[in-house]
């Protein structure tokens, strides 16, 4: 076991209780990201469905799935996922190629606190669709241990 000089230990302990800056994404950051994804176009509701449990016991692994409804003739190219209560709001960016079997993707994410999770689907014609779910997290994903 390593022996810490008492002064260093006290300083570290003091630093540990101070929350690091930027523990939560800045207000408006997710909105700005969604606008950037849309490239100035209109973001509409519908065509994309985000499934996240509304009550989460453990924020370290939250199963989510995003499904886009792709009408005949339309081509889904991207799905973006954002979480507005995480230190960094970006979660994932999925791209769907020509051999994709439809606009479905599932993964597991970390949620630092109770917040809103957003999904944006982008189609080849440039149209953007948005869905969001508010999630209550009882045990947060650990940021510092």
């Amino acid at each position: 076991m390593m022996v810490l000089p008492r002064r260093a230990f006290v300083l570290m302990a003091a630093a540990g209780v101070v929350l690091p800056a930027g523990v939560r994404a800045k207000p408006g950051e997710v909105e700005a990201l969604i606008r950037a994804v849309a490239g100035g176009g209109v973001v509409r509701a519908g065509r994309v469905r985000l499934a996240v449990p509304e009550l989460v016991e453990n924020g370290n692994a939250v199963g989510i799935s995003v499904g886009a409804e792709v009408p005949a003739g339309a081509v889904l190219t991207d799905i973006h996922v954002f979480a507005d209560g995480n230190p960094r709001p970006g979660v994932a960016h999925f791209r769907f190629g020509r051999l994709s079997g439809g606009g479905k993707v599932a993964t597991r994410i970390r949620l630092a606190t109770s917040q809103t999770v957003h999904a944006v689907a982008v189609f080849a014609d440039g149209s953007c669709w948005h869905d969001s779910v508010s999630v209550l997290v009882t045990l947060s994903a650990c940021l510092d241990d």
């Binding site: 810490l4 370290n60 439809g102 970390r110």
Partner: protein
């Protein structure tokens, strides 16, 4: 890298979508955690995942620290003819993983 748990059917029907599921063992260090000495543990996550069949893209993902440890991804593919599916991923330290599956289409 440790081999992942990969679930891909070896035989599929032409034009019928099927699911691909993968679970990769990786700590996915967020870069926000501190060790016992109070030092920040450097971020080390799988930041990129790609799936293609004979060079043609099926699905790809750019991942951020908000993806859980031991990342799990499920997506779907639809093939017209037999081919080799290649799944590749890289982490922040340059570690790479790769899996190949031959899929026969009938």
């Amino acid at each position: 890298m440790v081999r992942p748990l990969l679930n891909v059917p070896r035989e599929v029907r032409a034009g019928v979508a099927f699911e691909v599921r993968i679970l990769i063992q990786h700590a996915m260090e967020t870069g926000f955690r501190r060790d016992a000495m109070g030092m920040v543990v450097a971020q080390d996550i799988i930041n990129r995942f790609e799936c293609a069949v004979d060079g043609e893209e099926v699905f790809s993902a750019t991942l951020h620290p908000a993806i859980s440890a031991n990342p799990y991804l499920a997506f779907s593919a639809r093939l017209g003819r037999s081919g080799t599916m290649v799944l590749r991923w890289v982490d922040d330290r340059g570690g790479e993983g790769r899996e190949e599956v031959s899929i026969s289409v009938s």
